[in-house]
């Protein structure tokens, strides 16, 4: 059972729930940046929530199915079309042999997830089928998809069927301007008082350099770090520290200019001071931001972060129970 890639889109790769446990040697978590949309797509076709699916960024792929399949598309608003006929997002549908799947442009949101009943059956590496392109690891030949690739599909043990839809209140919306909640800490104390304030006051714009490694933001005021005699081993810029591990979601500001939020293909460490971390419940929302979308950072405490996490988890639990 194969799917042929006719056009790969801009950056389409195989991703699943991720590959934890190897960050200490620089192999990041990887996996779908929008785990909410990945779960939805998988559950709609009867897969395990964390099964391997396709993640396409900004421009969807063109695929031809060599076998009949049940598929579902979630995430960004990009109408899927089978042989030119529109299908619904967030609802499973059947494709027949030689059917051609294409997509309209992504109107809002930045990533779609295409799940196939049975899952994309590339070999698991270190417990995951996710692609980590920087390390040429996992996924399809360790890279994003290219024209001519033939994607194997797993044997369907599941009860995949067409016409399964995500409940309306579980369909996410992707505003072009949103608030990202941040727990400050790490090296936040290295910012000047003014920078510690303007970081939260300003509206930031997603830069074109926004990918699976990290999201870069610009157009806020520059952020100054307190002058000091740099500690032994740290670089010479005041935004430098002795190279350290970077949390997922941590925010660094090289040279004080443009904040970067690290995502699931993060570089695991380096010498830039991190000023805080986006809370876990907001990481999947970053994944749907297009370049030029706007963000404001909102300071929260641990209690608020845990409450948001619990709300996210209860939405996910509701998704599972409503689709099983």
């Amino acid at each position: 059972m194969d799917i042929e890639v006719i056009k790969p889109g801009l950056a389409t790769s195989v991703q699943d729930a991720g590959r934890p446990g190897y960050y200490n040697i620089g192999i990041p978590l990887s996996g779908a940046l929008d785990q909410y949309a990945l779960r939805a797509a998988n559950l709609l076709v009867g897969n395990d929530a964390g099964a391997a699916a396709l993640e396409a960024t900004l421009l969807g792929p063109e695929l031809v199915f060599r076998e009949p399949a049940i598929i579902a598309v979630t995430g960004a608003e990009a109408t899927p079309k089978v042989n030119g006929e529109a299908r619904l997002l967030n609802e499973s549908f059947a494709v027949r042999v030689d059917d051609r799947l294409t997509f309209d442009f992504m109107k809002v949101g930045a990533r779609i997830y295409i799940a196939v009943a049975g899952g994309i059956d590339v070999p698991p590496i270190l417990g995951s089928r996710s692609t980590y392109a920087l390390g040429a690891l996992g996924g399809f030949s360790g890279r994003k998809l290219a024209a001519g690739d033939l994607l194997p599909v797993g044997k369907t043990r599941s009860s995949g069927r067409a016409g399964r839809a995500l409940a309306g209140d579980l369909v996410p919306t992707y505003p072009k301007s949103l608030e990202l909640r941040v727990l400050t800490g790490l090296y936040f104390h290295r910012l000047t008082e003014e920078a510690a304030r303007t970081f939260f006051e300003d509206t930031w714009t997603v830069a074109p350099e926004a990918d699976r490694i990290g999201y870069r933001y610009r157009k806020g005021r520059a952020l100054a770090f307190r002058e000091r005699k740099q500690p032994f081993g740290a670089g010479s810029d005041p935004s430098n520290i002795v190279d350290a591990g970077y949390p997922y979601g941590s925010i660094q500001v090289p040279g004080g200019l443009e904040p970067i939020i690290l995502h699931r293909d993060a570089v695991s460490g380096g010498g830039y001071a991190m000023i805080g971390t986006v809370i876990s419940a907001d990481m999947h929302r970053i994944a749907q931001m297009q370049p030029n979308n706007l963000a404001r950072f909102v300071q929260v405490n641990m209690d608020a972060a845990l409450k948001a996490r619990a709300e996210y988890k209860s939405r996910i639990a509701r998704m599972s129970s409503s689709l099983l």
Binding site: Y23, G233, D243
Partner: protein, 292 residues
């Protein structure tokens, strides 16, 4: 060392800064705490990452509450205290072709991003560290062994810290602006840290040479990569071995044939013994490599 600083990185991480500045003591303490934490196999802990003078832990706050995670780490710190730190580890010899044609070609392409466009990286590093010649610099760089004090940035990339007194540490700034290209297996240096670029890509460290020995390979073709696709672990000890172009070419052929191997020996490192006689202790470590 000033006090150890704990900080939450969002709701899933704790970042622990042993010290603001780099030192063997800070690295050792972080390693000791991380090894202890690893042994406890605490449910909910998914990543334990020692790094230079700090460490990072990732946990699931639905399984272990953040405050409890924090207390656990503080307990381990208190238990370890200032005990004589010993580290069972391994020493490995890594061949290096210093001043090689590939890093030289690359550095010439990015000269306008360098502090001193008229020198090569190794000439510049030798001069600002007070060495009269490249040979003298290479002798210092490949003399005393180095600790792998962190693995990361990208898959399998070791950061290295040389086992010498601070006055003898090689220090160089990073490039003014990072390069967009670095040859795979470049031996580099930035701040007080050495590194080996495990994959080709962007980089800001000064480039001194290249090793023929692959250190990251998802296909795991070489004998020393059979256990795992990334060779280095924090705590490994590295001894550079300067090689000639002929030896380099021979090694590359062996890599291609799948027969290339590294000299690796188990060793027990004692921080106390090292401090008593850094030079003598380093030499005794290197002797372990050659079977004495």
């Amino acid at each position: 060392m000033s006090g150890i600083r704990y900080s939450f990185g969002g709701d899933e991480h704790i970042f622990v800064e042993i010290d603001e500045e780099m030192s063997l003591e800070a690295f050792f303490k972080g390693m000791a705490i991380c090894s202890d934490l690893e042994k406890r196999r605490i449910a909910g802990v998914s990543e334990i990452c020692p790094s230079n003078a700090s460490y990072l832990v990732r946990f699931d706050p639905d399984v272990i509450y953040p405050d409890k995670m924090l207390r656990t780490l503080q307990d381990i710190e208190a238990q370890i205290g200032d005990a004589d730190l010993e580290l069972p580890t391994r020493i490995v010899e890594i061949p290096v072709l210093y001043n090689d044609p590939w890093t030289r070609e690359t550095l010439m392409r990015f000269r306008e991003r360098h502090q001193d466009p008229k020198s090569t990286d190794i000439e510049y590093a030798a001069r600002i560290n007070g060495y009269r010649s490249i040979d003298e610099f290479v002798a210092a760089h490949s003399g005393a062994p180095w600790f792998v004090s962190m693995v990361g940035f990208v898959a399998g990339l070791p950061f290295l810290f040389q086992m010498v007194e601070r006055a003898k540490q090689i220090e160089v700034p990073k490039y003014l602006r990072p390069r967009t290209d670095t040859p795979k297996l470049t031996v580099g240096h930035g701040g007080c840290f050495g590194c080996i670029y495990s994959v080709r890509g962007a980089g800001g460290y000064q480039m001194f040479g290249i090793t023929p020995a692959p250190i990251y390979d998802p296909a795991q073709k070489l004998p020393y990569l059979k256990d795992f696709m990334a060779f280095f672990r924090p705590g490994d000890i590295v001894k550079w071995k300067p090689i000639s172009r002929e030896e380099y070419d021979r090694d590359v052929k062996a890599v291609e044939a799948g027969t290339f191997d590294l000299t690796i020996k188990p060793v027990n490192f004692s921080l106390k013994a090292f401090h008593k006689d850094p030079g003598g202790y380093s030499r005794s470590l290197v002797e372990v490599l050659h079977g004495h």
